[in-house]
């Protein structure tokens, strides 16, 4: 066992390596922002502005300074939460992101919950009945999940369940005339409508969320169940399982109390990774379902050539992604009794 002090030292290493990763992310987005063929000045002043107006904005944006200086300014302003102005909303990108992020978070959270609730039991069953039918079902679910284009599945689902069968509501977060009915408190419409006690809005929001959440949930399920299976297989092969069985523990108790409990730590990291993946996967799903989240924001900004907004969104999602990674890593190393510190 490593001492607590060593562990804390390890955490510090992790923090610094995360910082380096985030700096790398900033460097990449800066680089992308610089090579993009869209003239940022033109986006602001429009096509018919005079040369003087053009030059003024050029200087205001600091485009005349050396690249290193520009990068330094870029990083320091990022740290201040200044992501620049979005050309297509004329607002600070950060304000936009705060507006759009809750919708994505809500969708991804529900997606990952679906993934956990269905995926973990499926993975456990597949590990327990290895090479039997539960294992085969899981294999098919996983293969399909890894092979089907999510945007296409979304379109097909919309066609079938919204257009043909009319079981669920279509694109958007709530019906047009339910918009702005409940006050925006948390940004998550389900919670907000419950807080306001408006069940009509709540039901409408659920019906809108069903398809995109199930689709994201499916992708999360494919990943979580596969990982649960392999983690469980490892645990079920351990000696302590045999010991438990010999002691006469019931099969249910062996699987649930012993194996699954020990697998739990690893599963947390799996779930954290899956959550990060969903935040990213929401780009295409939100586009299909006109979901007013970060993904849709990035997509529509992309179409408008609004690189500040695209890169701001990329940095936000990327940062959350990196932090989730780090968090799960740290958690794993701190909680897992077998892990031996952090070393390189």
């Amino acid at each position: 066992m490593t001492s607590l002090r060593q562990r804390l030292g390890g955490v510090a290493t992790f923090v610094s390596s995360t910082a380096v990763t985030l700096l790398g992310l900033a460097m990449l987005t800066f680089f992308i922002g610089r090579v993009v063929p869209i003239d940022p000045v033109l986006k602001i002043v429009g096509d018919k502005a005079s040369q003087e107006v053009y030059d003024r904005v050029f200087l205001e944006l600091g485009l005349d300074k050396p690249l290193v200086v520009q990068f330094w300014n870029y990083v320091t302003s990022l740290l201040r939460g200044d992501f620049g102005i979005s050309f297509s909303t004329a607002r600070p990108v950060w304000t936009d992101l705060l507006d759009f992020f809750p919708a994505t978070l809500e969708l991804a959270t529900i997606g990952v919950l679906i993934g956990i609730v269905l995926g973990v039991p499926m993975g456990v069953a597949a590990a327990y009945w290895r090479e039997k039918w539960p294992d085969h079902v899981l294999r098919v679910v996983g293969l399909v999940g890894y092979s089907v284009p999510i945007f296409w599945l979304g379109l097909v689902a919309l066609f079938v369940f919204y257009y043909k069968l009319n079981w669920v509501s279509g694109p958007g977060r709530v019906d047009v005339f339910f918009q702005g009915v409940v006050p925006n408190v948390t940004g998550a419409i389900l919670i907000d409508s419950l807080l306001a006690g408006d069940m009509q809005v709540f039901r409408n929001a659920v019906s809108h969320m069903t398809l995109p959440a199930l689709l994201l949930g499916y992708y999360s399920l494919a990943y979580i169940s596969r990982m649960t299976r392999s983690v469980m297989l490892e645990q079920l092969g351990q000696e302590y399982i045999l010991t438990a069985r010999l002691k006469g523990a019931s099969e249910f108790s062996v699987v649930m109390n012993h194996a699954l409990r020990n697998a739990g730590i690893q599963l947390i990291t799996v779930i954290a990774l899956s959550y990060g993946g969903l935040l990213e996967g929401s780009v295409l799903i939100e586009t299909i379902f006109s979901w007013p989240g970060i993904g849709n924001y990035i997509f529509s900004s992309l179409l408008a050539g609004d690189m500040n907004a695209v890169l701001g969104g990329t940095i936000l999602v990327g940062t959350v992604f990196v932090l989730l990674n780090t968090f799960s890593d740290v958690l794993y190393r701190v909680l897992d009794p077998r892990s031996r510190g952090f070393g390189a």
């Binding site: 990763t21 790398g24 990449l28 922002g33 090579v35 293969l143 284009p149 992309l302 890169l311």
Partner: protein, 296 residues
């Protein structure tokens, strides 16, 4: 297969035997065989597209715009009256092109980074691996999206963007293999004989990394195809009139409620092909991954 008569135990026949046993084990895995068949079918489609297609994939026929599937148009016609079936057949060439472009760029980049880092160690290793980690830690699709938005749309740029996100796993893999090999006796022997480090890396280490890189590559192909289709769907991939499958779905999206067949067929094509690569990758991994081989 009958056993080969015992000839001189030279290297070639040993390799041949290994291949045969490999093939036998592979054939026992029906899913892997299905995957292989799908990929062979894809290759044949691409190769014999002019003979398989019923129409010129670029020939517009405005009066037939949005026709439903029929004897003339097996899978219907698109928004310019072009035959969807023929476009899907020709689209297989583009899919292969993207996959090939990504593979021939990302695998060598990953190999070079990984082998150099593993072989030299020290600060080179630390810098290279830190860069690799940064790329690994950033969401792939978003990175590709931002890159191709910057480079401008197009099939080559899309492939480049995917490459930029696809090379890090190869670097990790190659580094791990290199660490195992670099001090092996035969490598040290070559080194003592006075060979340069570059010569050692190119002639002795890289070839040893190839097999695990190839397995990993097969597995990645499905992901590459899906990402490329996603970029095409967003409009950042192949440009008109190229029959890229993702772009075809994007067109069909406008007509999804009334002319659902326009988006359906190319979606199926993507699904089947990436399923094929996944099945093959699964099977190859089961066969080649020593860790898994033990377990089974």
């Amino acid at each position: 297969m009958t056993a080969t008569p015992a000839v001189a135990p030279d290297l070639r026949s040993a390799r041949l035997r290994e291949w045969r046993s490999f093939a036998r084990r592979f054939l026992r895995n029906p899913l892997g065989v299905i995957g292989l068949l799908i990929i062979v079918a894809l290759l044949l489609c691409a190769l014999f597209a002019p003979w398989l297609a019923t129409h010129n994939p670029y020939q517009t026929s405005l009066p037939d715009r949005l026709s439903a599937p029929s004897a003339a148009y097996w899978l219907g016609a698109d928004e310019l009256g072009r035959d969807i079936y023929s476009r899907i057949i020709y689209g297989s060439r583009l899919t292969l092109l993207i996959v090939a472009l990504v593979v021939v760029t990302s695998a060598p980049i990953g190999l070079i980074v990984g082998v150099v880092a593993g072989n030299y160690g020290g600060w080179i290793d630390r810098i290279f691996m830190r860069v690799t980690d940064v790329f690994l830690a950033i969401p792939k699709l978003l990175l590709a999206l931002a890159f191709v938005a910057a480079l401008g749309p197009g099939i080559v740029n899309a492939a480049l963007a995917i490459t930029l996100t696809a090379w890090p796993p190869y670097a990790r893999l190659a580094r791990a293999e290199t660490l195992l090999i670099r001090n092996a006796d035969y490598v040290n022997a070559v080194r003592l004989a006075g060979a340069s480090e570059w010569r050692i890396m190119v002639l002795h280490i890289v070839p040893m990394c190839m097999s695990s890189v190839i397995v990993r590559m097969t597995f990645d192909m499905a992901g590459i195809i899906l990402t490329a289709a996603g970029l095409g769907f967003i409009g950042l991939g192949a440009q008109p009139p190229l029959p890229e499958w993702g772009a075809m779905i994007s067109t069909g999206r406008k007509f999804i409620f009334d002319q659902w067949w326009i988006a359906t067929a190319p979606g199926f094509a993507i699904f089947i092909v990436s399923l094929g690569f996944n099945l093959l990758g699964d099977a190859l991994r089961d066969l080649l991954d020593p860790h898994l081989r033990q377990r089974r």
